[in-house]
């Protein structure tokens, strides 16, 4: 375990102590203890920056299950460091914000911070592990901690609903991702991402390439809320706002983006990958931005806006993967899309984080998030309004903020992609920039709605749940102010990030494209001249403003009045159907009848054994090695069979006991014939005791009656019992024939030779029981003792109503 390992799992370690800190330091808000950790971690990971800036990487190896190729290997490169900094950096701000947001004494802070730290550790694990299985484990841990955080206010029905939904969808994706990882292992024989990328030819050449890709993408798409799996994200907004800002906009939902970026060197370069990701991303982009316009709840608007922005980053990763297709020197030209993706990833975390925090402040101070009730807050909350203004302007793409820069790059990427001339792009490529452009209009529109409906317009105190609206406490404002400062700084001076963070991350997404010593060109500027992108942006502004101005007209339409996403309907119906379907199956199967369960077991056993024997031609009959049947033996056998067969037909208790007793004594005689005197003795003894026991108990039991059962049930019973009997006969004959055919020698010689020598006894069976297998016999006695205890308690124990044992 190196320092890097300890740093990565340190959130888990701290989480153990949170309940204690919460219990013994009630005066101090638990958040202050938590705050230290992400701060230290941020500084720690920041120290890796000089390494990755020069294109270096750090690998730390700790074996975990080496025989299965599962090792806790951590790998720091540009991409993972970018995410680690995001996780810890936003983590600091979110924890700070949460201290003021969850200031109520009744909040269960111990739960909250344990879950939050679990998430932080899991997320660091996801982005830093090199091993796919370890990555998967951390991945599922993020799903679980996310569900726990969504259901933090678990007494609210909607929180539980949202948590369950997110859990279902993301864990479903996670499991299919595990399937994809297993296929990758089948192809390459390793779980290490480094080694897989080194052996990428094995993957590309394999017939499992497409299934593996689809499975992995399913995991990424569900996590990153890509269409049509996006429906869990808006419902996840039931979580406390710090959680929404942290997990559901800045970090966790970007895990899917991370995964796609991480496996681009493995799967990228083909048309399938390009089209699936680009189209999924663009569909999500436009769907999310259109849905966002329809929402009335501040956080819902932001949720759909997150969905749409995630789609945008995803589509850029898809378009950028085309760089792998061109293997000549020109491929550096095609990396703009990846540049835009990485840059927008950072920008989105900054402005969306601050917007969520601002929405949380509005909710906290006014008691509502409904834009129909809000309005005119600018006078009362000037700082929050300013924060929102900058955040929304960045999201809408207004210069000179960072959102403008990445949106321009996004347009550039899409326009370039439409001109690649590969993957049928000459036919369909023109739609990429058009979709991007349309979606951006809606993005502009919902940003305008969000700002003007909340902070401008008429102030309606009577609709709010508070008596007086005030600006938030200063502590709550620190975090969004820090983020909004970053929005402005990155907007004005994008080159702070260019070669320190963006370029190393690009190198991780597109390794092997650069020749040694070469670097990607990161050229981000506000002014490109009058090119297509600029006209697109101007068009977005004009149409966006026009749409906002005419809002009073189109807001009357049903499109705006309803806000449910139709995929929620699909999900809810599917969920109900699943529960009802399983109830139907369970009711049909679990009847409470002993007979039915026994029939299931017998039928399954018979089918399994007959199938296996038939398939492997297991039936055998050997007449070679048989022992003779003396005439007197026939007598015994016939008597035995007759007494056994008679039992079901007897309707008199006494007769039944006598007949079964007779069968038992006949078994004893058979043991004598088979040279087993000890068995015969034991059988005689046991049979006698059994008969006495039966006699004793039968006095208290009702008379045996002729059973009234349907003839159809009777026939089924007969068929089942006859097939079980036939199966046993066949297995027995075949097993005996197999035994004499293979001629394995029995281990009896050992016991015969050593019985006297080692154990000093002449009766070999007894010696085996009390000496060679003495421990077994002791445990057998224990079983009998337990049975005896059971018998006594069944007879003696008389409990009164409600009394327990």
């Amino acid at each position: 375990m190196t320092l890097l390992h300890w740093a990565t799992i340190s959130p888990f370690l701290l989480a153990i102590f949170i309940p204690l800190l919460y219990k013994y330091f009630r005066k101090i808000h638990t958040g202050w203890f938590v705050l230290i950790l992400p701060l230290v971690l941020f500084i720690y990971y920041f120290n890796y920056l000089p390494v990755t800036r020069d294109g270096g990487t750090v690998t730390e190896h700790v074996p975990w299950v080496p025989s299965l190729g599962i090792n806790f290997d951590l790998y720091v490169d540009g991409l993972s460091l970018l995410f680690a900094l995001l996780i810890t950096g936003i983590g600091v701000l979110v924890v700070l914000y949460s201290i003021y947001y969850l200031a109520d004494k009744k909040e269960k802070l111990n739960n909250f911070y344990v879950y939050l730290l679990l998430f932080m550790g899991a997320m660091l694990g996801v982005v830093l592990s090199d091993n796919l299985i370890v990555l998967y484990v951390f991945w599922e841990a993020t799903s679980i901690s996310s569900a726990l955080l969504i259901s933090y206010w678990f007494h609210r029905e909607k929180s539980v609903y949202g948590a369950q939904k997110s859990m279902f969808i993301t864990v479903f994706g996670g499991l299919s991702m595990l399937g994809g990882f297993s296929l990758i292992y089948v192809m390459t024989g390793t779980f290490s991402i480094r080694e897989i990328i080194a052996n990428v030819d094995l993957v590309t050449a394999s017939s499992l390439f497409i299934p593996a890709m689809l499975f992995v993408l399913l995991g990424a798409f569900t996590k990153s809320a890509q269409f049509p799996f996006h429906i869990w994200l808006p419902d996840a907004m039931e979580a406390p706002t710090p959680v929404s800002a942290y997990l559901h906009s800045a970090t966790m939902v970007k895990a899917g983006i991370y995964l796609v970026a991480r496996v681009t060197p493995i799967f990228g370069g083909g048309a399938t990958w390009f089209w699936i990701i680009t189209l999924a991303g663009l569909t999500t982009l436009i769907w999310g931005s259109v849905q966002a316009v329809r929402q009335k709840d501040l956080k819902s608007i932001l949720a759909f806006s997150t969905v749409s922005q995630l789609g945008m980053i995803m589509s850029l990763l898809g378009a950028g993967s085309a760089a792998y297709y061109f293997n000549d020197g020109d491929n550096l030209l095609y990396t703009t899309a990846i540049l835009a993706a990485v840059f927008h990833l950072i920008n989105h975390a900054t402005f969306k984080g601050s917007l969520f925090m601002a929405a949380g402040i509005v909710d906290h101070q006014t008691g509502t998030r409904d834009i129909r009730k809000l309005g005119g807050l600018m006078t009362f909350m000037p700082i929050t309004a300013t924060i929102s203004l900058f955040g929304l302007a960045a999201m809408a793409g207004i210069p000179p903020l960072n959102g403008f820069l990445s949106k321009e790059l996004f347009f550039t990427g899409m326009v370039q992609a439409s001109q690649y001339g590969i993957f049928n792009l000459d036919t369909w490529g023109m739609f990429l920039p058009i979709i991007a452009w349309f979606a951006s209009i809606f993005t502009f529109l919902y940003c305008a709605i969000l700002f003007f409906k909340t902070f401008r317009g008429k102030f309606q105190l009577e609709k709010l749940n508070v008596n007086k609206v005030r600006e938030a406490p200063f502590g709550m404002l620190i975090s969004p102010i820090v983020l909004i400062t970053l929005v402005i700084v990155f907007g004005l001076f994008p080159h702070i990030l260019a070669y320190s963070i963006i370029e190393p991350a690009m190198q991780s997404i597109l390794p092997g494209i650069l020749s040694a010593g070469e670097r990607f060109e990161v050229y981000i500027t506000h002014w490109h001249g009058f090119n297509l992108e600029l006209w697109m942006t101007i068009g977005v502004f004009l149409i966006g403003i026009l749409l906002y101005r005419t809002m009073s007209k189109w807001s009357k339409f049903g499109f705006y009045q309803t806000e449910q996403d139709i995929f929620n309907y699909v999900y809810d119906q599917g969920y109900d159907g699943l529960i009802k379907g399983s109830q139907v199956i369970t009711r049909a199967q679990i009847t409470g009848r002993l007979r039915d369960y026994f029939v299931y077991m017998c039928v399954f056993m018979v089918l399994l054994i007959f199938y296996t024997m038939f398939k492997y031609d297991g039936f055998m009959l050997s007449t070679d090695n048989l022992s003779p049947v003396e005439p007197y033996m026939w007598l015994v056998l016939i008597a035995f069979v007759a007494s056994i067969v008679a039992v079901p037909f007897i309707n008199n208790r006494m007769t039944a006991i006598i007949v079964t007793g007779a069968a038992g004594y006949l078994v004893a005689i058979m043991f004598t014939i088979f040279r087993a005197p000890d068995l015969a003795l034991t059988q005689l003894l046991i049979e006698t005791v059994s008969v006495i026991l039966f006699m004793l108990v039968f006095v208290h039991l009702p008379k045996l009656k002729k059973e009234k059962i349907k003839s159809s049930t009777k026939i089924v019973n007969l068929i089942v019992s006859i097939s079980v009997g036939a199966m046993i006969t066949l297995v027995s004959i075949s097993a005996f024939a197999f035994g004499s055919e293979t001629g394995f020698s029995s281990i009896r010689e050992y016991f015969i030779e050593n019985s006297k020598v080692l154990a000093g006894g002449y009766n070999i069976v007894n010696v085996i029981l009390v000496d060679f297998r003495g421990l077994d016999t002791m445990l057998e006695i224990l079983v009998l003792a337990i049975a005896a205890l059971g018998v006594i308690s069944f007879i003696k124990l008389r409990l009164k109503e409600g009394e327990d044992v």
């Binding site: 026994f598 049947v629 029995s746 070999i764 016999t777």
Partner: protein
């Protein structure tokens, strides 16, 4: 003998399973009793039958039958006795508490 025994054992199993599928608790108990006979005979049949003397050293014989399956069956007889007695008392107590030995009436919970 082994093939004859196999058929006999098959019949024992048929009857036992039929008894176990019955609705009457007493017949089910009888079924467990007879099925254990079947299992014991099956085990002993699988070691070759009637080869050599009983496995006791000081009776002046050279060849012995296989003692190991006998030891196994001996254990099984005792355990099956434990099972049978336990079931018998369970059946007795069930009847005392519920006044019925019909498994169809004994099944199920209140919410059905």
């Amino acid at each position: 003998m082994e093939i004859v025994m196999s058929i006999v054992i098959g019949i024992v199993f048929t009857v036992s399973v039929y008894l176990l599928l019955s609705r009457n608790l007493i017949r089910v108990i009888l079924g467990t009793l007879t099925i254990s006979h079947g299992v014991h005979l099956l085990l002993i049949t699988m070691s070759e039958l009637q080869r050599g003397a009983p496995p006791i050293l000081n009776i002046g014989e050279e060849n012995f039958t296989d003692p190991l399956p006998q030891a196994l069956v001996l254990t099984a007889i005792v355990i099956s006795f434990g099972v049978t007695s336990m079931l018998l008392v369970l059946g007795y107590r069930t009847y005392k508490e519920h006044k019925t030995e019909d498994l169809d009436q004994l099944r199920g919970s209140a919410d059905e």
